[in-house]
Assembly symmetry: C2
Homo-oligomer: 141 residues x 2
């Protein structure tokens, strides 16, 4: 096992390492952050459900062929208990058919003997620019 | 509290009740299945992130104005520990700009004193018809 797997003392730390690996197109570092479990799931924006290390690794290898992804996650929203942590973040702005859009990611982490590890990464595209941090108030009114 | 909240002895049972409520456009039954926590998150297909009971309830009320959703989830994939359960399901086929597509949902449940409750529902659209249960093997090759 790589030593990197034992450095993740919190879900937030694992998430930071995840996006750092995406930025650097570091496939080995990225995959080391997932749970040692063939039940892991990854759904890319507009993509099908991928299950297990081989399928997920292959998808990131294809993405990284074009270089790293300059994603800086923001507006973390978290709900957690002692053994799992459910994060949603805004991965940044994009464009869908020429109109502004933003990417929303759900990242689920579980606590394992080797630290907090990813069990699910699910991203979708939402219309409009990334909302401000006042989005909740805006939705309520 | 509604009695329905105490009937959910497993995440699978809560999920069945969730899709039953969607089919029947039963807003009260639907909302009773979520955790009593303002940190709950709902992301509809192509939609923005909604946080908290008020925003999520309002979104479903709008959807139900057109009646229930005839969703029959299939191909459940699950990973869980003692206190949380992460499900992904295929919610069925749809169409995106005239081409076949299918809906992928991530549903996260946590065990509460009142049973298993929803903390996150995130749906995205994937291209193509709903894959068969052999999707994993297809992806690997």
């Amino acid at each position: 096992m790589k030593r990197v797997k034992e450095l993740n003392g919190s879900a937030a730390e694992t998430e930071a390492a995840f996006y750092d690996a995406l930025n650097r197109a570091d496939l080995d570092a990225l995959m080391a952050l997932w749970a040692d479990d063939e039940e892991i799931v990854c759904i890319h924006p507009g993509g099908a459900r991928l299950i297990g290390h081989a399928a997920i690794r292959a998808s990131w290898a294809t993405i990284f062929a074009n270089g790293g992804l300059p994603i800086v996650p923001s507006q973390l929203h978290e709900t957690h208990n002692l053994m799992s942590s459910v994060h949603t973040v805004i991965e940044g702005v994009t464009a869908s058919e020429g109109t502004p859009a933003h990417l929303l990611a759900t990242n689920v982490y579980v606590k394992t003997p080797r630290g907090w590890r990813i069990v699910l990464h699910h991203v979708s595209v939402a219309p409009g620019a990334a909302p401000s941090d006042t989005v909740v108030a805006q939705i309520l009114h």
